[in-house]
């Protein structure tokens, strides 16, 4: 499979940039101090505030957070796809050293189409219902890579094979509604891979899918990423999915990164109270701490640990540490001083005044 794709790339895609080496660890995409604001009736609202992350070849970065935390907005900013009401007010997005945000918007978008691709949550909405899947796959190949009709079709079948759509040669002439949700998401991934991008941003790619199909799609993404040494940015709210595929995790809250850790560190000992609350509130399959015995005597099971309140909306971020109203560790300083994202251990950063305590308490 891989050999075929490589051959296809050499034969058909006159894209010198994509020929650049992707050795593990090369920094492909670097986002620094990104800030995005929305104009609303109530004034400007900062949806992303000083976000930085780095995507390296062959590694997967997970951006984790709940609704309104800015994880999706930040990736739209990277792609140059922000809606008209939003604009980037600060920061840089460097792709292999070139600042994408400094480019004119059309060049930014063209650059992204080729090197940084995106997969969205709702595959049905992202596919045009009146065109066949094949047409939509070949469209960009013809327009961007200047392929002929036959060439682009051959490549499209290859791409569908790559994402394991069965009977690709036949199904290429079908319409999106004839595909199931999982298959549509595969088509979206195929379409994103059409230009052999360096970086793939997947925004909640499996949220709309069944668990069984989710497992298939996540495995497919991981395989493709490992095979091509792409950089993968996985945007999700699901800590279970993250645990399976990510190398690094950035946890976002209220538009900011609150913790940045390698995946094993994060799950073993979260360095921010928000991360800890998130991990605690996920119901688990294996364990049940409820003292609920086999006799089914009607004893009530234990309550789920919950985080009080809810994530703040971008216009109403609390003062100081944005998490302090919901934090079980909050003290006076949290309400007034905003903690910076600082290194708390080797390779780990946390934006908490008491991160040391959190980690230290764990060791002791």
């Amino acid at each position: 499979m891989e050999i075929e794709i490589q051959a296809g790339t050499e034969a058909g895609v006159p894209a010198p940039e994509t020929a650049q080496e992707r050795t593990v660890g090369t920094t492909l995409l670097e986002v620094s101090d990104l800030a995005v604001e929305f104009r609303t009736d109530d004034g400007t609202v900062r949806a992303v505030d000083g976000l930085s992350y780095r995507v390296e070849a062959g590694r997967t970065l997970a951006l984790v957070g709940e609704s309104g935390c800015g994880k999706s907005v930040s990736s739209l900013a990277v792609m140059g796809l922000l809606p008209a009401t939003a604009h980037v007010v600060a920061g840089q997005v460097r792709y292999r050293g070139d600042d994408l945000l400094a480019m004119p918007r059309t060049r930014h978008r063209a650059h992204c189409g080729r090197h940084v691709a995106m997969v969205f949550q709702d595959a049905l909405a992202a596919l045009n219902p009146v065109h066949t899947v094949g047409y939509q796959l070949t469209e960009s190949l013809r327009a961007r890579a200047g392929m002929s009709r036959r060439e682009s079709r051959r490549r499209a079948v290859e791409l569908l094979d790559l994402v394991k759509v069965p009977n690709a040669a036949q199904r290429i002439d079908e319409y999106p509604h004839q595909f199931s949700g999982g298959m549509r998401q595969r088509v979206m991934i195929a379409s994103a891979l059409a230009m052999d991008p360096d970086v793939l941003i997947a925004d909640e790619p499996t949220t709309a899918l069944d668990v069984t199909v989710q497992a298939q799609v996540m495995r497919l993404l991981a395989e493709i990423q490992a095979e091509r040494q792409m950089g993968l940015v996985l945007i999700t709210h699901d800590l279970g999915v993250v645990a399976g595929v990510a190398d690094d995790v950035t946890v976002m809250y209220a538009g900011r990164a609150v913790e940045r850790s390698a995946v094993r560190d994060l799950y073993a000992a979260p360095a921010h109270p928000y991360t800890r609350s998130l991990l605690r509130s996920v119901p688990r399959l294996g364990t049940r701490d409820d003292g609920h015995d086999d006799a089914h005597d009607g004893a009530r099971r234990g309550r789920l640990p919950v985080v009080p309140g809810r994530p703040p909306s971008p216009g109403h971020v609390p003062s100081g540490c944005p998490f302090h109203p919901r934090c079980d560790m909050a003290r006076d300083v949290c309400a007034t001083d905003r903690p910076p994202l600082a290194e708390v251990a080797a390779g780990r950063s946390s934006a908490c005044h008491f991160a040391d305590e959190l980690l230290g308490g764990d060791r002791g």
């Binding site: 668990v211 199909v213 645990a243 399976g244 609350s277 399959l285 994530p311 959190l358 764990d362």
Partner: protein, 385 residues
């Protein structure tokens, strides 16, 4: 499980329920060209104060079943008994009364509330439809009490749904369902649209309401972890059939059906170490169309166990058959439709698989040892230490 308690303990019973939709074609003169068997012979029992979890992939018929139970759809076959009374043989008026005792909580808190009605009007609507359900204190007071019951500020009656967050909207939906004092709540994926940190709040609310009001829940979800947390019993559906049912511990830790095992193994565990060790029993492709279910065991086209057995050395391998474009599977799987057979320690535990024994053996070998699963909930609180 029938022997366990007195008969009147059962609030909702479903016997051999089926619901099919005709597939029509034609523009002016429509004719029926086929049937989609959304639900095909399902029997369930729900006891007072208990929670029955219903899991399965999309297209398994679990939402159709919910719609039949709350009376939005009429079953094509089978009976629904509420408090032992057959709903289909009742008069219209009696059915309307009975319908009150089974209410529903919806998945999407953004579409389940009419955006043009105030919260007060939404929660009061059940009283307008059933004027005799208004308690003595009057409608206004009842609405305030309901809002308070679900943890909302009663002063917010004049607000509109869009002024609330997802979790609060879900509370409004629960208050509306509780207005007519139902005995059963059918919860169709009630937390899957909510933020992780808010899910727990709603689940805990449902648990509290169950204790306080003695409600019974039919809890439909695709998230097996959530179901495990809240349910006393679990039924697993595949293509319109229940393929396994039993108390939660049996179903989760000693699954008798390869589909249940595969579902459980697909749940992403929030622990990188466990995920690295755990081999996922990937199911190929999507569930087949309910309009044209596979012959024999409906699961055989995707069954990992059938494939294992067919490629093994046992007698099943010798007798294996090629399926239509699919894998080799034991002959029985492709030809005979398995029925639910009781198994295990509790007779309530049953699975519909020809090779229950083999499936259970695999499950037992895979059962996670709770001691090895680190749980962040046990991370000590620095203030406490």
């Amino acid at each position: 499980m029938a022997e366990e308690g007195p008969k009147d303990d059962v609030v909702l019973e479903v016997r051999d329920l089926a619901k099919s939709y005709p597939v029509r074609s034609g523009v002016v003169l429509k004719r029926t060209v086929g049937q989609v068997q959304a639900v095909d012979g399902v029997s369930l029992t729900l006891r007072r104060g208990r929670t029955l979890g219903l899991v399965g992939e999309s297209g398994s018929g679990k939402s159709t079943l919910a719609r039949v139970l709350v009376g939005i759809e009429k079953p094509t076959r089978g009976t629904v008994l509420v408090d032992g009374e057959d709903v289909s043989t009742m008069s219209r008026a009696a059915r309307r009364e009975l319908r009150r005792s089974v209410q529903m909580v919806f998945q999407d808190p953004y579409t389940s509330l009419n955006p043009r009605m105030s919260v007060g009007d939404i929660v009061a609507e059940p009283f307008r439809i059933h004027p005799d359900a208004v308690p003595a204190g009057g409608r206004r007071q009842a609405v305030a009490e309901l809002l308070e019951l679900v943890g909302l500020d009663p002063d917010h009656v004049n607000r509109y749904p869009h002024q609330f967050s997802g979790g609060q909207r879900q509370r409004i939906g629960i208050a509306r369902a509780l207005a007519v004092k139902p005995r059963v709540l059918v919860c169709d994926e009630p937390v899957s649209a909510l933020d992780v940190s808010v899910q727990g709040q709603v689940i805990n609310l449902l648990a509290d309401l169950q204790d306080e009001l003695g409600l019974s829940y039919l809890f439909i979800a695709h998230d097996l972890a959530v179901v495990r947390h809240i349910a006393d019993e679990v039924a697993v559906m595949y293509l319109g059939r229940v393929v396994e049912q039993g108390v939660d511990r049996d179903v989760y830790d000693a699954s008798g059906h390869p589909y249940t095992r595969a579902l459980l193994s697909a749940v992403p565990v929030p622990d990188p170490a466990a995920q690295a060790d755990d081999e996922v029993l990937l199911l190929d492709g999507d569930p087949p169309s309910p309009a044209d279910p596979p012959s024999g065991c409906r699961f055989h086209t995707r069954c990992w166990l059938a494939r294992q057995l067919a490629s093994g050395t046992g007698p099943e391998a010798a007798d294996a058959v090629e399926t239509d474009g699919g894998p080799r599977v034991p002959r029985r799987c492709a030809t005979d439709d398995p029925v639910l057979v009781p198994l295990g320690r509790h007779d309530a535990h049953a699975a519909a698989c020809h090779f229950v024994g083999a499936a259970t053996a695999v499950s037992a070998a895979r059962r996670p040892d709770p001691a090895t699963v680190p749980d962040p909930a046990t991370v000590p609180d620095p203030r406490g230490s």
